[in-house]
């Protein structure tokens, strides 16, 4: 009986510590984060049903470290000619009329001590969905990936398959050489 109690206590303690440790290890991870936006913008209708390419709106992702949320003027490229009216579209038009930029809520947040560059990944042919998930099916955008360092490195390790020796590298074809190698150095992202 006493032994059982002790055992239960031990198991309980181990479980508690384990759960605590797990919780601690999840600090700063916001996978599944899905905040409400000032305008309930449905990616599903735009990127899914109407098949607007991601880079049409997030054009900065091609050249900048930030993918960027499109300026309202980009929305108005279509919405000036589209007849459909909803409460949400009204909000957008009102913002444009009042010259009041929309205050969106950022979904994907990286800590300040990490540098991430969208353009580097877009140019290297990494699909947006690889990190952002099936955005074209989402009514409200949700953080798909954990965005942890381990998660980044998983992919980088697969990609970093550049031959090590001078000879092997010299014999690579030009096309292959231009294939970007994902960095594994700390200073690839931390500076």
């Amino acid at each position: 009986m006493r032994l059982q109690l002790v055992l239960m206590g031990v198991v309980g303690a181990v479980l508690a510590v384990g759960a605590g440790a797990y919780q601690l290890s999840r600090i700063g991870i916001h996978q599944g984060y899905s905040p409400a936006q000032p305008i309930a913008f449905p990616h599903k209708i735009h990127a899914g049903d109407n098949k607007i390419p991601c880079l049409y709106c997030h054009y900065a992702a091609r050249t900048s470290r930030h993918a960027g949320i499109p300026p309202a003027s980009v929305c108005m490229n279509c919405h000036t000619i589209l007849e459909k009216q909803t409460v949400e579209i009204e909000k957008l038009k009102e913002a444009v009329q009042q010259q009041r930029p929309v205050r969106w809520v950022k979904v994907h947040n990286l800590p300040d001590f990490v540098y991430f560059n969208h353009s580097q990944h877009v140019v290297s042919g990494v699909a947006c969905q690889r990190c952002h998930g099936p955005v074209e099916t989402m009514e409200r955008v949700t953080q798909f990936a954990p965005l942890t360092m381990g998660w980044c490195l998983q992919c980088h390790r697969e990609q970093a398959k550049l031959p090590v020796g001078e000879f092997e590298r010299a014999t690579l074809s030009l096309k292959q050489r231009q294939k970007p190698a994902a960095g594994l150095d700390c200073a690839s992202c931390h500076y």
Binding site: I27, I69, P70, V96, P101, N117, S119
Partner: protein, 1014 residues
């Protein structure tokens, strides 16, 4: 293995000390950093030289406290993890092709940090200018900058700038103030009292046109230009000698022999960026380097670079010029020059005169003296040597200083007599920097209207009726003509932060141009005045676009009438009278300066210049290139004088010259003239802002006006000890050299012999590290480095290096990632100096890495020593184990911390931060990253263009700012890269290589080329 290498080298194995070459009469130059070290030896005194930095009171931590703290931490961490922080993203309302968040744009503009008007290229990120570079398109200035120029971007984000115009100290609208001013101006019409615009040097031709419009509109208008540190005598003397009152344009790159008389042309004088570039190009030891002789009283940046430096008192400079002229006249066989005596050893002067004569037509004598007689004699000297038209250009002169001391003195007289109705002040602060500032202020009381364009309430503007704050130059349109026919355009990089208005716009409004704004006026001026002077582009719009993009335009010179034709010793003007005047004055000062009487020499420092940037904390914290003191000025005293009078560093003395008195700490300066005490100008601002207020003391009262010209020295000064001491915020004695060969030098002779230095590879336990695409490395030519410190500020701007303040510096906690070590060798009366930029050496076998318990610092596959802030736990083992002492520890949060009330405390000041570099928090180590953010960006750009990186595509911040191109960065894997070539140079060496650290940073030895005096 590696043993074979070391065995092979055994025969040649020299101790590093033996590698040092002989200079002068010294067998082995023993380098020393301070007088204390020279006298007491290099061995360090205990673990904490200068005592333990004030330690906090220690309290016992009980087990219970520990557990409570731990519990709290866990709970806090748990809570923090429960909630996602809400961050907002606010895109532009209307997109633009030009502004993409996260992508920097570069625009050409023109610096207004001083009147040199260097052409700049400014980095704008997300609508904010954040970094200043030189404009490599400029044929005058090249791609370099100076420390002040680098720091001007921070002045833009100075939150003590005025938010809008003031009328009698009260905020008003622009309409109101315009009404007040135009009403008062109208009332002055018909009055005999003058309307005066008092400005600093105006290099902007369009602004000069506006001034001309005032002259047309108001017959009683007068324009007076006033420079706090003036070259007025040089202009006047050139006028008297050659018939054209201009500041000549000098060509230091065409001179084989350069003689400087108290002209700090590498640091502060006239156009230091331009001159440093010419100078370094002309002194490459691989060719035949130009000889440089400097006569000066205090140790300046220029003097520290000279081959021969002679310390003389300021009053003796004229005699030196006369003595040289006498010798040249003798050689030329022209009528002899009066007098026979020499102020210094005759054989030194003989040797200098010989060199000058040998290189006539390719020599250059420049003087920083503001005495017309001295400048007349220097003109005669240059004319006799045939330098006019060769190294000295009077036809296309420099327009960088046009202050007129006599006109200013006259204006002060008029002010006092009440003859001035309206006084408008632009870019001047006479209440601070005029020697008789009380008289100026008394006169200012008598005007009907005083207007200041100052950007803040300063010593002068706080007495003005109206303050109409001008834009910062990064917010403004403008143009400049630093050298005749060489134009530079300026364009705004950001919309004005505050309700300020361009001074030109105000002037246009008040003179009746209600409709035109300055931009349109400027463009129209360029259409009518500059466009016709070029033939390349037939269309003005195309010309304007191209000029804006390039920033610089050179056009054909205006035909100016008088062409000076100086023949030998016959320049116009009475230089003989000048010689007599020099004799009489020197005799006067000499007899006046009795035993224990000194001369006080007032000079500008590379950081603060004339004091206008005193509220810039980057500049306040920039160590002086020579003394390495920050945050304040001091009285530099020769070591022998200090010994005689029992003075130590930091002893506060009371310095008296005439009626003027100052109390400031003493600093023992090797190489200082024994009869001169040097005091820096630009300190002691009483009204400037939080950072600069009352830092140091104001030395301008020690300047005076003698025969219409400002004099920057005072004779007959005495001093007494006050018994107090003050700590100097010095970064100099932090790291002793411990007698090790950190700086190596060679002689020109040795170099041209071509003796190949043996490559000693010390054995290593480590495997080869560099296995990546690239191997980044750096090479620093110590022969080109002048110590100007532009790189230090450039690094600070690029890498978000915090300002820590004087108190922290006293505790040895400066944060600069690059420092410039200055070492002396030789006797303390005549030391030989060398400047060595020192930053993380990016060792392949880095001692810091092996002691880090958490692998926060590691070598990358491309040879960078990486510091990972988020992994660092702050043991500081790495800093202790670093032989180069380049690691910096964040003892505090320097951001958003009221204890450190500098730019990173203010929300406006933080706008200067580089978004591509993390702001470090408390408890982490940091150091030079070789600007890894620039490497990564260039790699990405190459990737986008599907091409390989080109050599020179990546420039580190220090490299880019360097006016002499002393620093080269690149890929060591590419054998043809510039850095690889430099690392194969005969002069290369690595600092403390015998430790086996294998740094990726190499140095090229300093080459000595002393002048033989038989």
């Amino acid at each position: 293995m590696d043993h074979s290498g070391s065995n092979g080298a055994k025969g040649h194995c020299k101790s590093p000390k033996e590698q040092l070459v002989q200079i002068g009469g010294l067998a082995v130059p023993e380098y020393w950093k301070s007088v204390e070290e020279l006298q007491n030896g290099p061995r360090y005194k205990g673990e904490f030289p200068g005592g333990l930095p004030a330690s906090d009171a220690r309290t016992e931590t009980t087990r219970r406290d520990f557990l409570a703290a731990m519990g709290f931490t866990l709970a806090a961490a748990g809570l923090a993890g429960c909630r996602a922080p809400v961050q907002n993203a606010i895109p532009l309302l209307v997109g633009s092709d030009d502004i993409i968040p996260g992508v920097a744009n570069w625009y050409a503009t023109t610096c207004r940090g001083c009147a040199s008007s260097c052409s700049l290229l400014v980095k704008q990120r997300d609508g904010r200018p954040i970094k200043i570079e030189g404009n490599a398109e400029s044929t005058i200035f090249g791609g370099g900058t100076c420390a002040t120029g680098q720091a001007t971007v921070l002045s833009l984000y100075d939150d003590e700038r005025l938010r809008g115009p003031l009328w009698h100290g009260q905020p008003v609208t622009w309409q109101e103030i315009d009404q007040h001013i135009t009403d008062t101006l109208r009332a002055s019409e018909g009055s005999k009292r003058e309307i005066v615009l008092l400005s600093g040097t105006i290099t902007s031709p369009s602004t000069r046109r506006i001034v001309a419009e005032w002259q047309k509109r108001y017959p009683n208008f007068r324009h007076v230009e006033y420079d706090a540190v003036s070259l007025s005598a040089l202009r006047a003397a050139t006028g008297q000698s050659f018939g054209r009152a201009v500041v000549p344009h000098y060509a230091f790159d065409k001179a084989r022999v350069i003689v400087g008389l108290e002209a700090d042309f590498l640091g502060t004088w006239l156009s230091p960026v331009e001159f440093a570039r010419q100078y370094a190009a002309n002194r490459k030891p691989e060719g035949v380097p130009a000889l440089h002789v400097q006569f000066e009283s205090g140790m300046s940046v220029t003097g520290s670079n000279a081959d021969v430096r002679v310390a003389v008192a300021p009053s003796q400079l004229g005699l030196i010029a006369v003595a040289l002229l006498r010798r040249i006249a003798h050689k030329a066989g022209t009528p002899p020059v009066a007098g026979t005596q020499d102020p210094i050893e005759a054989k030194k002067l003989d040797a200098v005169a010989d060199e000058l004569w040998k290189h006539r037509g390719e020599s250059l004598v420049v003087s920083g003296s503001n005495d017309i007689s001295v400048q007349m004699v220097v003109n005669a000297l240059n004319a006799a040597l045939g330098n006019i038209g060769k190294t000295i250009d009077i036809l296309q002169p420099s327009l960088q200083r046009s202050g007129d001391d006599a006109a200013m003195a006259e204006l002060v007289g008029k002010l006092q007599r009440g003859e001035v109705h309206t006084l408008m002040m632009h870019g001047v602060n006479p209440a601070y920097d005029y020697p008789e500032s009380e008289q100026f202020l008394a006169g200012l009381e008598k005007v009907a209207l005083s207007v200041s364009f100052s950007d803040r309430r300063d010593e002068t503007s706080s007495h003005a009726h109206a303050v109409c704050p001008d834009h910062h130059f990064l917010e403004a349109w403008g143009d400049a003509e630093p050298v005749e026919s060489h134009f530079s355009l300026a364009q705004p990089l950001i919309a004005p932060l505050f309700e300020t208005r361009a001074a030109q716009e105000s002037l246009l409004k008040w003179v009746g141009h209600d409709e035109t704004d300055y931009y349109n006026y400027l463009r129209e001026f360029w259409r009518t005045d500059i466009f016709p002077r070029q033939k390349e582009l037939p269309n003005f719009d195309a010309f304007w676009e191209r000029s804006l993009q390039d920033g610089v335009v050179a056009v054909s010179p205006k035909s100016t009438g008088a062409i000076p034709k100086p023949v030998n010793l016959k320049p116009q003007g009475d230089w003989k009278a000048a010689v007599d005047k020099i004799f009489s004055e020197a005799a006067e000062t000499h007899s006046g300066t009795a035993e224990n009487h000194f001369e006080v020499h007032c000079y500008e420092t590379v950081a603060l210049r004339d004091g206008r940037h005193a509220n810039n904390p980057w500049l306040q914290e920039l160590p002086d290139p020579i003394t390495k003191v920050t945050w304040g000025n001091y009285a530099a005293i020769a070591p022998s004088t200090a010994k005689k009078l029992d003075l130590n560093d930091g002893d506060v003395i009371r310095l008296t010259a005439g009626k003027r008195q100052l109390e400031l700490p003493a600093f023992i300066q090797p190489g200082q003239d024994t009869r001169t005490i040097a005091v820096a100008l630009g300190y002691g601002r009483s009204q400037v802002g939080r950072a600069g207020k009352n830092v140091g003391v104001n030395a301008f009262p020690f300047t005076s006006i003698e025969r219409g010209q400002r004099r920057y020295f005072a004779g007959n000064a005495t001093f007494e000890k006050t018994g107090r001491t003050e700590k100097l915020g010095s970064t100099q004695t932090h790291f002793s050299m411990e007698g090790r060969p950190i700086v190596l030098e060679t002689s020109l002779e040795e170099l041209h012999k071509g003796a190949e230095t043996e490559e000693e590879t010390s054995p290593t336990l480590w495997a080869e590290r560099l296995h990546g695409e690239h191997a980044w490395g750096m090479a620093i030519d110590m022969n080109s480095c002048t110590g100007c410190s532009a790189c230090v500020v450039a690094c600070q701007a690029e890498n978000n290096v915090p300002v820590v303040g004087k108190d922290q510096i006293e505790r040895i906690r400066i944060m600069h990632w690059i420092r410039i070590d200055r070492y002396y060798s030789g006797p303390e009366e005549e030391p030989v100096s060398v400047h060595q930029p020192m930053m993380c050496q990016h060792c392949q076998n880095a001692p810091c890495e092996t002691v880090c318990p958490v692998l926060a610092t590691t070598t990358s596959s491309e040879g960078l020593n990486q510091q990972v802030y988020n992994r660092c736990i702050g043991t500081r083992y790495c800093a202790n184990n670093c032989p180069y002492k380049v690691r910096r520890f964040n003892w505090y949060n320097y951001t958003e911390n009221p204890q450190f009330d500098f730019n990173m405390e203010s929300p406006i000041g933080r706008l200067v931060l580089n978004p591509d570099v993390a702001v470090r928090s408390r408890g982490v180590m940091e150091k030079c990253s070789l600007c890894v953010q620039r490497i990564q960006l260039a790699k990405n750009t190459a990737l986008q263009g599907r091409r390989d990186l080109a050599d020179g595509e990546i420039q580190t911040a220090c490299q880019q700012s360097c006016p002499t191109q002393a620093i080269v960065f690149g890929d060591l894997k590419d054998p043809n890269s510039r850095v690889s070539q430099m690392q194969r140079n005969q002069r290369r060496y690595k600092v403390l290589d015998d430790l086996g650290t294998r740094p990726n940073v190499s140095y090229l030895k300093k080459v000595r080329n002393p002048l033989e005096t038989a």
